[in-house]
Amino acid sequence: MTQELVRPAETASESHRSRLQSLLMRTAAASVRPLTAIIISLLIFAVILQLVGYDALQIYKSLVLGSVGSTNAIGSTLRWATPLILSGLAVALPLRAGLFNVGVEGQLYLGGFVSAMLGLHLSAPAFLAQPLAIVLAALVGALWAAIPAALLIFTGATEIVTTIMLSAISVGVVDYLVNNHFRDPASAAAVMTKPVQAGYHFPSILPNSQVSYGLLLAIVIGIAMHRFLNGTSGGYEVRMIGASQSFARYGGIRVGRSWLLVMVASGAIAGLVGAFETNGVNGRFISGFSPGYGLEGFLVAFLANSEPLAVLVAGLAVGALQAGSLGVAIDFGVPRTTISIMQGLIILLVSAQLGRFTVLKRLLTRRRARP
């Protein structure tokens, strides 16, 4: 009955080593793509800069200085990394289940608005106020993401479009409310609310910077997401739905339920971005405070291949980019928006290599002999 084993069993250490080896190989394989994308887009961006008359080398030098060249620079990098990591996590989680939450922008906008409203109208001591604002922002974001999720599950309406539409709606509604009902009369130029009460203002954890404990929360969420996806049954189900829906259904997984879960969590995290940017960094709700975190979330998630731990690193990298671009803007008068060129290029190239990457991946895995 028992078959004779063709090879003697491997010792424990041998199997550990081969596991480590394959892990390293896979990490290396996974890094090739985002690294090449970044390098190529750096080159293209440099060309564009030269074409319009800037010295690309000088600009890149300023970029580096502005992101890691001083404690202030590092503070700036961390400040930008916080919303980017959170947005990246918000996008990455549903992506693992095959869903595109393109509405992060709207969800975070609502989160910011709600936490500002709390901060303006509800008096509470700091130790209550801040958790309240955080929780409420997360709730609102979660709710706003639950709508497209429910539509997808019950009517089949694609979340790709519904999240976009709802995002536009929420931004429009919030802007309207702020502009017409909650505007700070003292500010004529900018559309923004009055500052929130002191208790709601998230303190910074790094001197001379705007880094609040939101960064720590982001890191905690990233680690928790990693543990969830890789170490729990629920996370397993999410991953399998993303890998093969037919396999997941065959195995008895309730796909709709998982979809709802990941979208709600995604919206909640997006809401957090709004809370920390509004009450933490800006101290008030400013219309248009988001430089496109929703899109940049996709950038970060794709760079990280939707792996939560990698999102932490990618968010940091893109945060450095953002911080550096500020320095560039000051030094050279290059408008901040131009950094979106590089971000856009990276997104394009990373998504493109998704196609070529499979060729590369197959090459790397084919080298193992077929057992």
């Binding site: 078959q3 090879r7 397993y236 189900e237 259904r249 195995g251 895995t365």
Partner: protein, 528 residues
């Protein structure tokens, strides 16, 4: 093996294949196939799913390219590298899964490859007129307006045929045309084919329904496991001979049969089950069956007769229209989901393992725990237990001799046999009272197949009620305690494992049809 009647001096065949070989990865789809098709005949190519018929015909039609071999049209070696080449050579294929555009009209579909235009604008009236003319000539009714997608498969198929004829095909290849037709539509089709032959066309018919072979074909070629046997005149062939060629295996996996150790209680009871297939046609008619603990019930039969639907209905992947299903005397008919059926004790080894049985790009480890990922020992309070998973992986890879390596590899880096071993091991590890196994050794090498069979026998010895569905007759006979045959959605039998192949073959062809007796005087091939 087969006899054939020597015709007089045979004229040049309109189509000849010499040594066609095609491999997909490690799977040999066509193995040195040679074939001669004569002008004006209706040549049937029969064989099981996976025998290589469709691949062969796709090569002839230029849809895919052969690795080796030659195609001769009217005696001339012809290079067929694209459907265009095939069309120019006069070969047209009517695909099994149509190659039509649902949002375009009937006429637009027919003329898609050659739209009549004037300055870029399509000449609609001319198109409609030509289409109507062709339809008339060949007796193929088609509607004159509306989107093609709004019409049923009968219309779609006629459009496909007209498309092929339009491009000037002299040789028409039809791939399982009646799979989607009602009996009346099938009759119309064969009338049309007859008219086509009368006007000088040649028809190649791919089918696994022997009734059609005997009703319409003049010559027949059997394919199995990528190889083709000598063609024979239909008038000289017998159904049982054809069946044996189609489903028999050269290597016998058989073992002497061991009777079930105990007379177990009925675990799975199916009563008057009715079910529909994906085309909303009835796939199962009044199926009743009982499987006892510690026995293997085998269902043999040519694929496409409802076996897949039966397995899916039991596993909770297909809705039950009528009837009752019970597991361990508990009515589970209303538990219409895979989740619930698994909870009730049904596990399933699916026939399409790459689609349902595994997630190809996921790791072996991930594929291993599907179905068990919420309960101990694999998970404790929602947390996956790596040690338990590793232990499960060890147990399965050891038992089935899958080379160790890292369990983190994507499962599609393994061979088909190893993948199936993992699937089998996984489903068996559930130790559920009911196991449904559908074609468990299809596309699997001999060694792996034997291991899987042993595993099924062990499950049986441990008291599992096993329902085995397979189109491999030898497999069914060597494993089952009782054998049924499924034909056209109906169950025939049961028979004991010692039943003759002829009897089973008879049941597979519907039983009620008379078997054509071989022509007297022509030497008969002996029973293999």
């Amino acid at each position: 093996m087969m006899s054939w009647v020597a015709a007089g001096t045979s004229p040049t065949p309109v189509l000849e294949l010499r040594g066609i070989t095609k491999t997909f990865g490690s799977m040999v789809a066509n193995d040195d196939v040679s074939l001669r098709i004569n002008r004006g005949e209706l040549h049937a190519v029969v064989g099981e799913n996976g025998a290589g018929k469709s691949t062969l015909m796709k090569i002839v039609a230029g849809v895919i390219g052969a690795d080796a071999g030659q195609i001769l049209v009217d005696g001339q070696v012809t290079d067929i590298g694209s459907p265009h080449d095939a069309a120019r050579a006069g070969i047209g294929m009517v695909h099994q899964h149509f190659s039509l555009v649902p949002s375009l009209s009937v006429a637009e579909n027919i003329f898609l490859g050659a739209l009549p235009t004037r300055v870029g604008v399509v000449r609609r009236k001319r198109m409609l007129r030509d289409a109507a003319e062709m339809a008339d000539t060949y007796g193929l009714e088609i509607p004159t307006s509306g989107r093609l997608g709004d019409y049923g498969v009968g219309v779609q198929q006629r459009v496909e045929i007209l498309k092929a004829l339009l491009s000037g095909s002299k040789v028409l290849i039809l791939d399982e045309p009646t799979a989607v037709l009602t009996p009346q539509e099938s009759d119309h089709l064969f009338d049309a084919l007859r008219a086509l032959r009368a006007s000088g066309h040649t028809v190649i018919l791919i089918t696994h329904k022997l009734r059609e072979v005997f009703a319409a074909a003049t010559r027949v070629t059997v394919m199995r496991d990528g190889r083709a046997f000598e063609a024979s005149e239909v008038s000289a062939a017998s159904e049982s001979q054809l069946i044996r060629l189609m489903v028999g295996r050269e290597v016998k996996l058989g073992r002497p049969h061991v009777p079930p150790a105990k007379d177990g209680a009925t675990v799975l009871r199916i009563e008057h089950l009715e079910c529909r297939n994906n085309r909303k046609l009835t796939a199962l008619h009044d199926i009743s069956l009982a499987v006892r603990s510690g026995e293997i019930v085998g269902i043999a039969g040519v694929e496409g007769n409802g076996q897949e639907e039966l397995c899916e209905a039991i596993a909770g992947l297909r809705a039950v229209e009528n009837g009752k299903l019970s597991v361990l005397d508990r009515d589970v008919t209303d538990e219409q989901s895979a989740t619930k059926r698994r909870a009730c004790g049904v596990t399933y080894i699916p026939a399409d393992r790459m689609l349902r049985g595994v997630a190809p790009r996921a790791s072996i480890r991930d594929n291993l725990i599907m179905g068990k990922h919420r309960e101990p020992p694999i998970a404790q309070r929602g947390r996956l237990q790596p040690a338990a998973i590793a232990a499960m992986g060890d147990a399965i890879t050891k038992r089935f001799n899958v080379s160790k390596g890292a369990l983190g590899r994507p499962i599609d880096s393994l061979s088909g046999g190893n993948i199936q071993k993992i699937v089998t091991g996984r489903e068996l590890a559930a130790r559920s009272p009911v196991l449904v196994a559908s074609n468990p050794t299809r596309g699997v090498d001999i060694g792996a197949a034997e291991m899987i069979h042993n595993a099924l026998r062990e499950a049986r010895a441990a008291g599992v009620a096993v329902l085995l569905v397979s189109s491999e007759l030898d497999e069914v006979k060597s494993l089952s305690d009782r054998i049924f045959v499924m034909s056209k959605g109906e169950l025939h039998g049961p028979w004991p494992p010692g039943v003759s192949d002829e009897q089973l073959g008879l049941a597979m062809t519907g039983g009620a049809e008379p078997v054509l007796a071989p022509v007297v005087g022509v030497p008969q091939a002996g029973r293999s």
